[in-house]
């Protein structure tokens, strides 16, 4: 009996030691896996939390909640509703749960946890629910971010303004967005049954395939080309294609990512413009070679008459004939200048300092400025460079300065303010005067036209602004005008910024 007792005591002691050992192992596991234990004893309405569970909730070391305030740790809304639902089901129906829920800790921090619950029944009555809390905050948030990125990509892919497609290594379309379908006229289903080779114009196929090979071989990161596709209606679609390659972690090619931008309309427009340009040049050629030779003959014949038959010139018609012939020459020469401008500009522009050119222009008309008591205020930054032809820039500035003087207001000394603004592409310089002004409602349309004058000034010939505008446009710029009658006029000239 005694021995039995001793044995029993030893056994108990061993068991106690074993239990203690188990407890230690369990504690360690809990800490490493950030996993805590919990238990709700329904009979005693008692809740027990392990140390790690307490740490997850950020409460004191001896804290154990009631059933109710245990639930209050779950964030109101989805998480709390979910935990109440699954906990109730565990208690009432014996259904175990494993859910992801958000906790608001005692310190007010948000933690995403995995909550596992297991219910224990005795005599068809739930005695106990126990389970695990695991801090999965980091991985959960990472997963959420990944999901958001995936969704972002999906949305970008689907709603991109240009066509986007994933194409496998055999050239089949794996995924296309709606824009690709709209562009090419096929449904997604139809496209999936075609390779891109099937709908590529044969003349563009070789280059495309060559570039794809280089992509696969890693000789290039991406490529861009202009190519033609056959749309479903057999019409040609011009597109700019940009392709890059997706690879797996080992660098093995997975699929191609293609972007397609429809440039069909631009192409057509370009073709029309080129054809129009061609016709314009032909016209210019006719003007310069054929019309000019006839008009110069007129001039020569008239000179001859003057020289040989002086008496024939002494009537009222002769001076008019001379005048007409001169005007004809002049008109042709203006027309020629305009056409010649386009050719001249191509390679002859260079960076020019706007401030300096304005100063230079003032010097060359100094006497005109002085005799009119005109004042020019050059506020243009000394560092601005415009991309222009020297002769054109001189002529443009001079024309506006002399115009401002020519159309000065009665009883007001001409004051011309010049200032400029820099944009990435353009330099906008404004020439503001205090002169007569122009009724833009009446004359706006014809302001820059040839032989359009609207002041009864004797020397207004309506050619200056026409030539000036043509020069500005030949330089790739534009011109705008603001004016108020009797207050003044501001010409705003856009010229290409030479810094780009």
């Amino acid at each position: 009996m005694k021995l039995d007792n001793i044995e029993l005591l030893e056994k108990l002691a061993n068991q106690e030691q074993e239990t203690k050992n188990y407890q230690e192992v369990l504690d360690r596991i809990q800490k490493v896996s950030k996993m805590g234990l919990w238990e709700v004893n329904l009979e005693e309405q008692k809740v027990i939390w392990s140390e790690v569970t307490r740490q997850i909730h950020e409460v004191e070391g001896d804290y154990n909640p009631t059933v109710e305030n245990g639930i209050n740790f779950f964030v109101e809304g989805k998480s709390r509703d979910l935990i109440i639902e699954v906990f109730t089901k565990a208690v009432e129906e014996g259904i175990n749960y494993d859910v992801e829920v958000e906790l608001r800790t005692a310190k007010g921090n948000s933690v995403w946890t995995r909550a596992i619950g297991i219910s224990e029944f005795e005599d068809r009555k739930c005695k106990r629910v126990y389970g695990l809390f695991q801090d999965i905050d980091e991985s959960y948030k990472r997963r959420q971010q990944l999901e958001r990125q995936k969704e972002l990509f999906r949305q970008t892919f689907e709603f991109a303004p240009n066509g986007m497609a994933l194409i496998n290594l055999e050239g089949r379309w794996i995924q296309v967005n709606q824009q690709v379908c709209t562009m090419l006229g096929y449904t997604k289903y139809e496209l999936f049954n075609l390779t891109f080779q099937d709908i590529t114009h044969p003349d563009d196929l070789d280059l495309d395939l060559k570039l794809l090979d280089e992509l696969v071989e890693g000789k290039r990161e991406s490529y861009q080309m202009e190519k033609r596709y056959f749309s479903k209606s057999d019409g040609l679609v011009w597109a700019i294609l940009s392709v890059s390659m997706m690879r797996d972690e080992a660098g093995k090619p997975l699929h191609f990512v293609s972007q397609l931008t429809d440039i069909t309309e631009k192409k057509l427009l370009l073709e029309t413009t080129l054809a129009q340009n061609e016709r314009l040049l032909n016209f210019a050629h006719i003007v310069s070679h054929n019309l000019r030779s006839h008009t110069s003959n007129f001039t020569m014949l008239l000179s001859m008459i003057e020289l040989e038959y002086k008496e024939a010139t002494e009537n009222e018609y002769f001076p008019m004939l001379i005048q007409s012939s001169e005007k004809l020459q002049e008109t042709l020469s203006y027309l020629n200048q305009i056409v010649a401008m386009q050719n001249e500009v191509k390679d002859n522009t260079k960076p020019l300092n706007l401030h300096e050119y304005i100063e230079k222009a003032q010097l060359s008309i100094k006497s005109q400025l002085n005799s009119n008591q005109a004042k020019v205020i050059n506020k243009v930054d000394k560092n601005l460079l415009v991309d222009a032809i020297p002769a054109y820039l001189e002529s443009i500035i001079l024309n506006f300065l002399t115009n401002s003087i020519k159309y000065k207001a009665e009883g007001r000394k001409p004051k011309i303010n010049i200032f400029a603004e820099k944009n990435p592409q353009y330099i906008t310089f404004s020439i503001k005067d205090n002169g007569l002004g122009i009724d833009l409602e009446k004359h706006g349309q014809k302001l820059f036209g040839m032989y359009k004058t609207f002041h009864d000034k004797k020397d207004a010939r309506g050619i200056g602004l026409f030539i000036t505008k043509s020069q500005i446009e030949a330089l790739g710029g534009t011109i705008e005008v603001e004016s108020e009658v009797n207050k003044g006029t501001t010409f705003k000239i856009y010229l290409r910024n030479a810094e780009i």
């Binding site: 003959n297 014949l301 000179s303």
Partner: protein
Amino acid sequence: MPKFNHVCIIDDDPIYTFTTRKIMEIGKFSKYIEIFKNGKEALDALKPRVEAGEKVPEVIFLDLNMPIMDGWQFLDEFMTPNTQKIVIYIVSSSIDPVDINKAKEYSLVTNYLVKPITPERLKELFDKMES
């Protein structure tokens, strides 16, 4: 006393050649004025003379746009060491910068004149050449 012995006009435009010849006659610019209707005619007549060292025009007024052989072709074919002595003016109604720049590439060409050539301008030109 005429300023030159022999001036040549190569141009297919009869009104131009008529008026220019008249001006030269009235102004007594040259003893002899020879006219060709295109580059080919001029080349066939002038080149053998140049090569044979015979008398050639001192001044040539050359048009650019002509049938059969234009002014450029004429210049290309007319070029021999002996032609260096001849003063050649291009006289054209073209004010195309492409033509004007091209003319600068020909060492034979003294200047590029744009039509019309009025009596005053012609006189100026001859006065300058003389001096």
